[in-house]
């Protein structure tokens, strides 16, 4: 059974997108959700409080999602945090770059609630096995 109380950070510069992801997460049972509008703010929040999962966009001002991912993987206290990238960057090179940087999964926008749930379950299922 996956932990429905886990704390999730949703990172996207578009408030519409944050609202969509938050609602989908709530609908699939995750209501403990915080948000940030770029990588810099997200990193501050991650360092200031314990989060169990990060859902991030790629294209954002100040610090894009890929840089946030790299920063998370380089920080000993954050490196184990699962990161799901939800982005409009739908090129093979982007996916490969994200995987090489340590992303746990990757969703191309626009996406469905079922697709988001499936990938979260997949990531958390793998984490539980490891």
């Amino acid at each position: 059974m996956l932990d429905q109380n886990m704390k999730i950070l949703v990172v996207d510069d578009f408030s519409t997108m944050r609202r969509i992801i938050k609602n989908i997460l709530r609908e699939i049972g995750y209501s403990n959700v915080d948000e940030a509008d770029d990588g810099t703010t997200a990193l501050e929040k991650l360092k200031g409080s314990k989060f169990d999962f990060v859902v991030t966009d790629w294209n954002m001002p100040n610090m894009p999602g890929i840089e946030l991912l790299k920063a998370i993987r380089q920080d000993p206290s954050l490196k184990e945090t699962p990161v799901l990238m939800v982005t409009a960057e739908a090129a093979k090179e982007n996916v490969v770059t994200a995987v090489q940087a340590g992303v746990n999964n990757y969703i191309v926008k626009p996406f469905t609630a079922a697709a988001l749930k499936e990938r979260i379950d997949l990531i958390l299922g793998k984490a539980a096995v490891n």
């Binding site: 578009f14 519409t16 989908i24 294209n59 982005t87 090129a91 093979k92 995987v99």
Partner: protein
């Protein structure tokens, strides 16, 4: 040199001067046209950028309004579900014939309610069009700003003056690091999943 030869030379010089004058005149006309083009461009590009910014703002406002309505409706559906559950408890106290009939209606209403909620969630998810179109519009606005700044540079180089170019010395306002999807040939989710699998992620 004989008088005839001098006349030939003078005629030749006159011809050269005439063609030089024509060339200068054409160049001047060309610069006049360029000035007009730069002036028109300097007026139209900021106008287009402003209009696109307004479209982005309108889209965001509309998306927000639609999502607020949907959130309200989805909350009502949760309430409807709770009421159906209560009703189910009450129907169970009826005689068996009416109880069966009542539970059948409740079940049917529950299915309709769930279906409506799922479809509202789909509408909600599809509001991501705002994010995607917004990113593309940002890129267009950025490109317009680049063209605008080039026009202003051109105006400065040629010393064009005019009301519309009054701000030629000002820094053009545009985002230097444009954000947005950059791939002209996007791949779909199944290809992403395949890559993830191949890379063992």
């Amino acid at each position: 040199m004989s008088e005839g030869n001098w006349n030939d030379v003078l005629n030749k010089i006159r011809g050269e001067l005439a063609s030089l004058a024509k060339f200068v005149d054409n160049t001047r006309k060309g610069i006049d046209n360029l000035e007009l083009t730069v002036k028109v461009g300097s007026e139209k590009f900021p106008e287009a950028s402003n209009q696109l910014n307004a479209v982005t703002g309108d889209l965001e406002k509309a998306a927000d309004n639609i999502m607020t309505i949907l959130e309200g409706l989805m909350a009502e559906q949760d309430r409807t579900n709770a009421l159906l559950n209560s009703l189910s408890g009450w129907v169970a106290t009826l005689d068996s014939n009416n109880a069966d009939k009542g539970q059948g209606f409740i079940k049917e209403l529950g299915v309709i309610n769930e279906k409506a909620k799922k479809e509202m969630m789909d509408i909600f998810t599809n509001m991501s069009f705002h994010d995607l179109s917004g990113q593309k519009l940002k890129k267009v606005i950025g490109s317009l700003a680049v063209v605008e700044s080039k026009l202003l540079e051109l105006a400065l180089t040629f010393g064009f003056k005019g009301d519309s170019l009054g701000e030629a010395n000002a820094e053009p306002h545009f985002e230097t690091s444009l954000q947005g999807p950059s791939n002209p040939m996007p791949i779909d989710q199944s290809v992403v999943d395949k890559i993830m699998k191949e890379l063992g992620a």
